[in-house]
């Protein structure tokens, strides 16, 4: 039990530091990543003393599709029906960033060379940030799997980590994507159907509460995530605005012949520095707030999926009961009906037990992650505000001191 708790607590999403593994018998990390045209190649490095593996240290190169394959394999595995499957990492998306860089390249000639250099620098930093994030997301996915006592023992996982060759997992083609899409629809329809089934009573208060909670929570956290993203975007816009301002002030300063010269030049410098600070505010809000919200949005979806599976099992159990009763009244195939019913019952109970544990882990994981990130967010905001104040004050002193 303790091992599990530990593992639960230590799974934090997208922080820049590598999450320490609860159990050092299997350590996974992404040691390198390369971006090629439209693919990203991750180097997954494993350190393990488990007897299963041929070596204690080894690495393989994997692409995003292979991560998705692994995730789907878990989801489709009946054995893990009672567990929260860690959400799959999002596809690396450099589209927006690439477009912006391209636009800058063809851009208008009205901006000075300095401005151009700064904007290019900004966009490159943005590109780099997106790249780092995608690496972190893929890494966290693997690390959560490695930390989970049940999931880490999966055969597919071992293959993923060890098999030197390409897993020949092509991306889903249109038919499969459509299939996945339809499956989701069927799932939600099914869920609606199940819940409206007469006679299907939720016997456990815990799950009743969890269900209501998760439904609402998931919607709201998704909302919060979207809006946090927009705030972050606005901060970035603001930071970018300082570039032409600084440039205009600079040229004003060089042209002036009177006392305004130094004032303008100092202002130009000030805004250049403020730009960097504003940019940092944006990226910190992104990491500590937006990313965290996004991760728990996905995780809460995974929890919802678990609840659905349990509900399905309950429905199956109920159906099996009804079938048994019918069989008994007709006195036909009672044995099969009985064994089926027992199967369903056992499955349902197994799922309920593990689901309960998983959901409690989810809560403690969530709480500790929010705590950590909110503290770090506040501390960083304070740091940047203090730096800005100092910068502004120094400039004011310099300007006021002028004749």
């Amino acid at each position: 039990m303790e091992g599990r708790q530990e593992a639960g607590k230590e799974n934090k999403p997208s922080s820049t530091s590598v999450d320490p593994q609860g159990d050092s018998s299997l350590q996974v990390e992404i040691s390198d990543a390369v971006s090629e045209r439209d693919k990203v190649k991750f180097t997954v490095q494993t350190k393990s003393c488990l007897p299963h593996f041929a070596q204690t240290e080894f690495s393989v190169v994997r692409q995003h599709e292979e991560f998705i394959w692994l995730h789907d394999a878990y989801v489709e595995n009946e054995e893990y029906a009672g567990l929260i499957i860690p959400p799959a990492p999002p596809r690396p998306d450099f589209e927006a960033s690439r477009e912006k860089l391209q636009k800058l390249g063809e851009g208008d000639s009205s901006i000075t060379r300095e401005e151009f250099a700064k904007m290019k620098q900004e966009l490159e930093a943005e590109y780099l940030a997106i790249f780092k994030k995608t690496v972190a997301m893929h890494e966290v996915f693997l690390q959560r799997l490695a930390a989970h006592p049940t999931l880490r023992r999966d055969h597919n996982f071992f293959v993923f980590l060890e098999y030197g060759q390409d897993l020949s997992v092509r991306g889903k083609n249109r038919k499969e994507l459509l299939g996945g899409f339809l499956r989701n629809i069927v799932k939600s329809a099914d869920e609606a159907l199940i819940t409206s089934m007469s006679g299907l009573k939720e016997v456990d208060d815990f799950f009743e509460h969890e269900r209501t909670f998760l439904l609402e929570y998931h919607t709201r956290i998704r909302d919060a995530c979207l809006r946090a993203d927009r705030v972050m975007q606005s901060h970035k816009c603001l930071a970018d605005d300082y570039i032409p301002m600084s440039a205009a002030l600079s040229s004003l300063g060089t042209q002036e012949v009177n006392q305004l010269k130094t004032s303008f030049l100092k202002l130009a410098e000030l805004f250049e520095r403020l730009r960097k600070l504003e940019g940092r505010v944006a990226s910190d809000e992104d990491l500590k707030l937006s990313d965290m919200l996004r991760y728990y949005m996905r995780d809460s979806q995974a929890a919802k999926d678990l609840l659905y599976r349990r509900l399905r099992a309950l429905a199956d159990y109920e159906n099996a009961n009804k079938a048994l009763d019918k069989a008994r009244t007709r006195n036909r195939e009672v044995r099969t009906a009985e064994s089926n019913q027992q199967l369903c019952c056992r499955r349902f109970e197994r799922l309920s037990d593990s689901a309960k544990q998983e959901l409690m882990d989810f809560k403690s994981r969530r709480v500790s992650s929010f705590r950590k990130n909110l503290i770090e967010l506040a501390e960083l905001e304070l740091k940047h505000a203090k730096a800005s104040t100092l910068l502004l004050r120094n400039t004011l002193v310099a300007l006021k001191g002028e004749p």
Partner: protein
């Protein structure tokens, strides 16, 4: 939010920028439409204070549109010719010909659009003390406030009336504190009058705020939304800045129209300021004509200072426009940031409500509160961005346009002088030809005619040269004053703006410092 108050003008130590009209008063009592035109005469500006006492008629000879009583004027004019101030070069010919013809004034003065108001002769009761005060470069003690916009009337005939409050200790005003109600077109009318009197002789008349048909229509229609209140506030602040700048101009402060604007309870409606009035259209046509003329005037610039300055202002204009555009973008994005922060605050609050872990739930609610306060902060900062920085820049962009206009007037003045010289030359040639061709019969009459014309044009040439020198002098002084003011304005505003930024950051620190323990309290 109070608009940027103009800093007190620099005592530029030049006591000369006022009309010494008290002595010249008698000259004009009989005339009807004069006093507005009197400042068009170049001399007053160059008149040092000391000369006032010596010159009983510091007043310029009648370079003035006089519809009546011309004779009186001329009589005095001939007298005046001998009372030249030491600064004026003796450019008059020895012949006691009248210094002016009725024709000259109209060509000298820029065509006026509106009918001249029949104002009483100006009684500048400026005491000797005040003159000396200014001579010492003391501060102009006058403050203008524009406040309390209120809607008058209904529908498309509605308008906003603003309260204009003047606080002053200058004795030229009858009270020390008074206020009147004015509407936007009144301000435009004031500017129009001042511009017509002073621009073409080289004074930089502050431009009035711009019209906005869209903005005003919204207000008229009665939309009580934030954009129309913002519009009204923007306009109010702009009107205040406009008046402040105008009264801080030592020459303009003396103008009777300005005083009437500030003081009298009733003001004749300035219809000619409407964009689509006859006067308005005439204005547009003239502007177009001016633009064409500017392109065709090739002036032989003898004074490098002017060329240099023009180039400087041209550059400054370009740079300010660029800066203004980027500041406008900043204002826009900060407003967006504020809106997005508010939206996030709401969703954080909702999330906090959903959260079933008590301590985390509380922390999330606190976060929501912090974000809400921060959104307010961003809004206020955007406000400051705009009213302090952005509006200052746009004011100066328009002011520089006025400066450029003044330089253009100088060019036109030169052109006039040049044209007069050419005409004179032609007339002299004609006369010479006549002298050579010896035809006795009709020649005497023709000779007299041509003689008269030559004298007329000689006078015009002299006048042209005087005017040109006068305007050049005025411009030099004005530009000096303008630049000094600009430096001061910018410095003051920059410091204020930075202080607002500091304020914002300090508030941010406060909010986050309050939040931190809440985050740490999550157990």
């Amino acid at each position: 939010m109070a608009a940027e108050r103009e800093p007190p003008p620099l005592g530029d130590g030049k006591p000369t920028d006022f009309e010494e009209l008290e002595d010249g008063e008698d000259l004009f009592t009989s005339t009807v439409s004069t006093l507005e035109s009197s400042p068009s005469s170049p001399e007053p500006a160059s008149l040092p204070a000391e000369d006032v006492s010596t010159n009983s008629n510091g007043r310029k000879p009648a370079e003035v549109v006089l519809d009546d009583d011309r004779e009186d004027l001329f009589a005095e004019a001939t007298e005046e010719v001998s009372l030249d101030s030491p600064e004026r070069e003796p450019i008059l010919s020895s012949e006691p010909s009248p210094a002016v013809t009725p024709v000259t004034p109209t060509t000298l003065i820029a065509p006026r659009m509106e009918s001249k108001s029949i104002s009483a002769p100006v009684i500048f009761d400026r005491s000797r003390e005040e003159i000396e005060e200014e001579a010492n470069g003391d501060v102009f003690d006058i403050e203008i406030g524009v406040s309390d916009p209120e809607k008058v009337g209904d529908g498309m005939n509605a308008y906003m009336a603003y309260r204009v409050t003047t606080k002053t200790s200058l004795s030229m005003f009858s009270k020390s504190e008074f206020s009147v109600k004015r509407r936007f077109s009144d301000f435009l009318g004031l500017h129009s009058k001042l511009a017509s009197k002073y621009l073409h002789v080289g004074y930089i008349v502050p431009p009035a705020p711009e019209k906005s048909i869209v903005g005003m229509t919204k207000v008229k229609v009665g939309k009580e939304d934030s954009s129309s209140t913002e519009f009204v506030e923007k306009r109010r602040a702009a009107l205040e800045r406009y008046l402040q700048r105008t009264v801080k101009h030592p020459t303009l402060l003396q103008d009777p129209d300005l005083r009437q604007f500030l003081e009298s309870s009733e003001l004749p409606r300035a219809v000619n300021t409407q964009a689509l009035s006859g006067a308005g259209i005439l204005r547009m046509v003239n502007k177009a004509a001016d633009a064409v003329n500017k392109m065709t005037i090739k002036m032989n610039e003898s004074d490098a200072w002017f060329e240099e300055k023009q180039q400087q202002f041209e550059n400054l204009d370009q740079q300010l426009r660029k800066l203004h555009a980027s500041v406008e973008a900043l204002v826009c994005h900060r407003k967006e940031l504020s809106a997005n922060t508010a939206a996030f605050a709401k969703s954080a609050a909702m999330l906090g409500n959903s959260e079933d872990h008590t301590a985390l739930s509380r922390a999330l609610s606190q976060l929501a509160e912090v974000e809400e306060k921060i959104d307010q902060l961003h809004q206020e900062q955007a406000f400051a961005d705009f009213y302090m920085f952005s509006e200052l820049l746009s004011d100066y962009i328009r002011l520089i346009a006025a400066v450029k206009g003044v330089f253009d007037h100088r060019m036109k003045c030169w052109q006039k002088w040049e044209d007069a010289q050419i005409t004179l030359l032609k007339k002299r040639e004609t006369e010479a030809k006549m002298m050579v061709a010896n035809k006795p019969d009709k020649i005497q009459q023709a000779k007299n005619e041509i003689r008269e014309e030559i004298e007329e044009w000689e006078a015009k040439v002299q006048q042209g040269e005087r005017d040109f020198e006068q305007i050049s002098k005025t411009i030099r002084k004005e530009v000096g004053r303008f630049e000094a003011k600009r430096v001061k304005d910018f410095k003051t505003v920059i410091i204020k703006y930075l202080e607002s930024l500091v304020q914002t950051q300090q508030q941010l620190i406060k909010y986050w410092e309050a939040f931190l323990p809440e985050a740490k309290a999550i157990a």
